[in-house]
Symmetry: C2
Subunit: 342 residues, 2 copies
């Protein structure tokens, strides 16, 4: 079942059949109707491999994400999917599980498949082979969540956001504020957020604490509990992401600490689920869907104009503090984000 069959049955050449679908206005109305009828009757579906091979355009955007087990990326992907669909693009999401080699392999596959553009969340944009490859092949790409001067990025000012929220915790009387993070080397976001924590503590004249690094998902609750059992335990925990914040709350409960009375817990990401928990998660709200949308828009615009997005297209979006019940922060008068580009 291919274009030839349709042509034969409809009584026209394959060129006309092709045109009937790709440039209907160039075909006689009756001819078109006839061809459409036959195509439908035969259940004809154009072979996209052939189309892509011939036209060198796929109308596909590749999407590289660390994982979909963290809802923050699922929400972002939702935004990507909707925006892509609205712009007439398909997407191919692939998860890397924070493996750099997987990022590279995926980008290779994307190039082989002639994707029109790529949207990525990488571990470390600074020395990413995947990005180098994309650049060398002149394929439009945009980073989400990452931030680096050499690449087009769509993200929030994480460092400022963390500094802000740590400041708020201090305002509420907290002096012993610790930070919980996944493996720092695995993500530049974690690093940015850690920098924000250190900066804020320094500015506040508070003694920062050793980072509570919990690389292995499965055991993180236990690992956090250990820290909470110490005599010099912190009174507030800033967590590098909401999933860790959820686990921290659990760890507090396991340790006989009440949240937020005995321990304040603040997350980062603003996953929707956090609002349905008890206590409702206090967190830095990123515009996750919007970030996806903006990335797609950037890519689609570039594609339409035939140019590559560069660092000059970087967009820093607004974040906000979502005040829940997991921390003794009472009001949402968050300082204005320090940087903002539109």
């Amino acid at each position: 079942m291919n274009i030839k069959d349709v042509a034969r049955v409809a009584g026209f050449s394959i060129a006309t059949v092709s045109r009937a679908f790709r440039a209907p206005e160039k075909v006689n109305v009756h001819t078109r109707a006839q061809i459409e009828r036959v195509a439908k009757q035969l259940g004809y579906i154009a072979n996209s491999s052939a189309q892509v091979l011939r036209t060198r355009r796929s109308r596909v955007l590749g999407v590289v994400l660390p994982t979909l087990l963290n809802p923050v990326f699922a929400e972002c992907l939702d935004g990507i999917a909707r925006a892509a669909h609205a712009s007439g693009y398909s997407i191919v999401p692939v998860t890397t599980d924070y493996q750099v080699t997987s990022e590279e392999r995926t980008v290779q596959t994307f190039i082989a498949a002639n994707v029109d553009g790529v949207l990525l969340v990488v571990s470390n944009p600074a020395d990413s082979l995947a990005l180098r490859l994309l650049k060398s092949k002149q394929i439009p790409y945009v980073l989400a969540y990452n931030l680096h001067q050499d690449h087009p990025c769509v993200t929030v000012d994480s460092e400022a956001a963390v500094a802000d929220v740590v400041g708020q915790l201090a305002d509420c009387g907290h002096r012993h504020i610790a930070m919980v993070s996944g493996h720092l080397a695995q993500s530049d976001r974690a690093q940015q957020r850690y920098r924000g924590y250190l900066k804020a503590m320094r500015q506040l004249g508070l003694q920062h604490r050793d980072l509570i690094e919990v690389p292995f998902m499965a055991t993180s609750v236990a690992q956090i509990s250990v820290q909470l059992a110490r005599s010099d335990r912190p009174t507030a925990l800033f967590c590098s992401n909401d999933l860790l914040a959820i686990r921290s709350v659990r760890a507090a409960n396991d340790s006989g600490l009440r949240v937020p009375d005995d321990l304040s817990v603040v997350g980062f990401d603003g996953i929707e689920l956090g609002m349905d928990l008890t206590p409702r998660l206090t967190t830095i709200q990123q515009p996750n869907r919007e970030m996806g949308r903006v990335c797609v828009r950037l890519l689609a615009d570039s594609l339409a104009r035939g140019l590559l997005p560069g660092p000059e297209h970087t967009q820093i979006l607004d974040y906000s503090l979502r005040v829940g019940e997991s921390a003794t922060i009472t009001d949402a008068h968050m300082p204005t984000p320090s940087r903002r580009t539109k």
Copy 2:
């Protein structure tokens, strides 16, 4: 940059270059080394559109899921991704948002892209155009979570699972057990689970309650709260999935009810997150990753043998009761699943 360039630079014919990658043993060792060197140096990446067009095989499996915002599908996808990778397949996950038309559109795209097989979670296998299309085009496919006699399915016996857990609630003294579900028409799982609920209530001689149907995610907490405010409120809630169970717990808190003391809440799915919540979610644990794995294995086996999976390949996997803290169920002596196929 294509095979021709590599051939020219390496000083061999394109046929030899092709063979060097696809059938290395048929090429002289030195020739191969030379070709590999040149290919690497030029950054050659074979054009998969051309390969697929020529060979009619893509080593790609299409994956149709309702949403990735529900972690149950993200976990399943994780299993799919790992199994596919292990079998040398790529996957292309697409979400339908429970839209039947989107299922059909997606399957068409998959067919156009020459996927080797398709793995789906559909709304209603009984009259699915998407499945009909797949069948008519002779494309191997397997359903996950769905259950229907005409199709190859990998799932658990939801009906029995629900009946079991409702029975346990009754054993613990509950007489007023209500069920919370998303829009029933949107998923045959919800329907199976509802049947299980009704069956169990009937067998227990208990009066079943009107289904608490909360079609719109955003407002579900409020909708559930309304039901909990009634004077004849239930003492136990069986929720069609874990996300609803989480929201039910929140609704209970909002209503001044303590879980599980005043209200028992049981979920379905066994998402990992549930174990990190307070109270830990009591839920029916499905082998989500395993289901993904089994689906891929089924597909890969069929592909290897050149035959289509049929209803006879259906596998009903084991579920279990995960006893958390959200319900007054004290022990895990769950009856053996009523049906089981291996």
